[in-house]
Symmetry: C2
Subunit: 326 residues, 2 copies
Amino acid sequence: MPATEPAPDEICLRAIESFHVGGEVRTLRGLPTEARRLAQGAEPRPVDPNGDHVVGQMYVQAYRLARPRHALPVLFWHGGGMTGVNWETTPDGRPGWLWRFLGAGYDVYVSDAVERGRASWARFPELYAGAPLFRTMDEAWDMFRMGPAHGYRTDPAARLAHAAQQFPVGAFDQFARQWVPRWAGHEAVTSAAYRALLDRVGPCIVVGHSQGGGFALLAAQERPESVRAVVALEPSGAPAAPPAAIPPHLIVWGDHIGDHPVWRRYRATVDAYAAVLARSGAAVESLDLPAEGVRGNSHFLMMDRNSGLIADRVLRWLDALDPRHP
Amino acid sequence: MPATEPAPDEICLRAIESFHVGGEVRTLRGLPTEARRLAQGAEPRPVDPNGDHVVGQMYVQAYRLARPRHALPVLFWHGGGMTGVNWETTPDGRPGWLWRFLGAGYDVYVSDAVERGRASWARFPELYAGAPLFRTMDEAWDMFRMGPAHGYRTDPAARLAHAAQQFPVGAFDQFARQWVPRWAGHEAVTSAAYRALLDRVGPCIVVGHSQGGGFALLAAQERPESVRAVVALEPSGAPAAPPAAIPPHLIVWGDHIGDHPVWRRYRATVDAYAAVLARSGAAVESLDLPAEGVRGNSHFLMMDRNSGLIADRVLRWLDALDPRHP
């Protein structure tokens, strides 16, 4: 790989826009009213939870360049228990992929999927079926492949990291501040919101990470007229049935996948899916970073110390695509 | 008031940054492990909630101009059950105050307060004491002064709005998509996170709305070396004890306050506070829009159809301040 392009010094925008897509109004009845104090210096007032609530919407922030150099925008889709913050400044304070892709001339859309971040979430068990999951720092240290299993300690100095770890592990506690609760079983409503986003945006490139990578693979099947290329960064799953025609795919993998039983299974699922796509004639490339001599990448490739280099690798893959696509 | 300045066509940034401030690590023990399916095509895997979690952090997004025309940045603090989305595109798709204040030459910081949006939230009752509140569209229609009490209907065409309502009520359901759950009783941890933000940013101007207006009034007492001017848009409360020295304050009120029992009480609290400040020699201005002949503003002045005009009024107040301040 070549040396990393420096992040741009200045970016001129014609708009920073945000909006929500998807969601429906649901009505609650029969719940008790509570008295709560909600303002400084005020007395408690009755709060009535009965009435109309919106459920299932997704938040999107669009950065539109004054002079884009590509016809198609890039949509960044985060993973499970995350938000669009994943694509902004890295936890150790370097420019994120949002800034780098804007610098490369793409309009960029960053979303917070249903139930996460600025998308909001709904009361349970009345509107969501059950309670959310809160990822511990202990589990994340393992699942995000910062170090060996059981290598997490509350004391940052005592944690066990993989040798040559590319993630800025000194900023792991800062990274933990951006994690949000997640629900299991919301895949259908989340996919519906992504379809609503694609229907609004039109032709685009989708870059999805982890759970968002799986949603991107599915969206490429469901909306091939919109999704002109997919970049899946360590997708944690793949859809069941491959379609007849599908846009070009790049699938990127970091280090220590083979050492990790859950990631070995996730990758096997995605590798099998990629093989079926390839046999059907689709342009599918799997980029195994360690096999190219790039060692130490965590699950969060876009935050790792070599995140600029990996962004460049993705940007070059997009540049080389059939011009009918990006 | 003069005609509204048009929103700028192009804004050049040297950085879009984000970070979290505040928060502390808390450890949970003794909770049961659950089996959950978290990836497409994968088997359920055990999820262990025991371990370390971060609680009390706040999210901040900083837009830094390539060529700012003012020495101090503007910090936008949203209200209760809201996020920084309040300052972005209005629900009916017009440029928000984020874009307008960037266009006026200010660096802008937009935050999601503790427990809201991209700040994340924590498990209850283990880490937060109790359950959150979810605001209904019914209550919001009344509390945000879209129309008379009990004027909300699920059918948008059947809703009762105030005459000459400035809020784009046709986009009320879109607006409802950006509301997030809130907790009562988190004022201390939220104020601590705002202090951490001010300590990081240094001298600045704070523009706070509703509950965020109350936090801004308090922050001006607690961090007068950082908060050089406060603009409080319909603050829903005021702190108890005014300090000896305090920066200039502008407090802005929309229409139909006098018709609304809760807002009448909230405003009385803030008016009393402003009177004490003024008697102590502080520069405090209350801008009552209906008294100036500007009718029909809702609680969400920065989203109303005349939001550009109100932004201009605030910008002119800032321009006229003592140059030792902004």
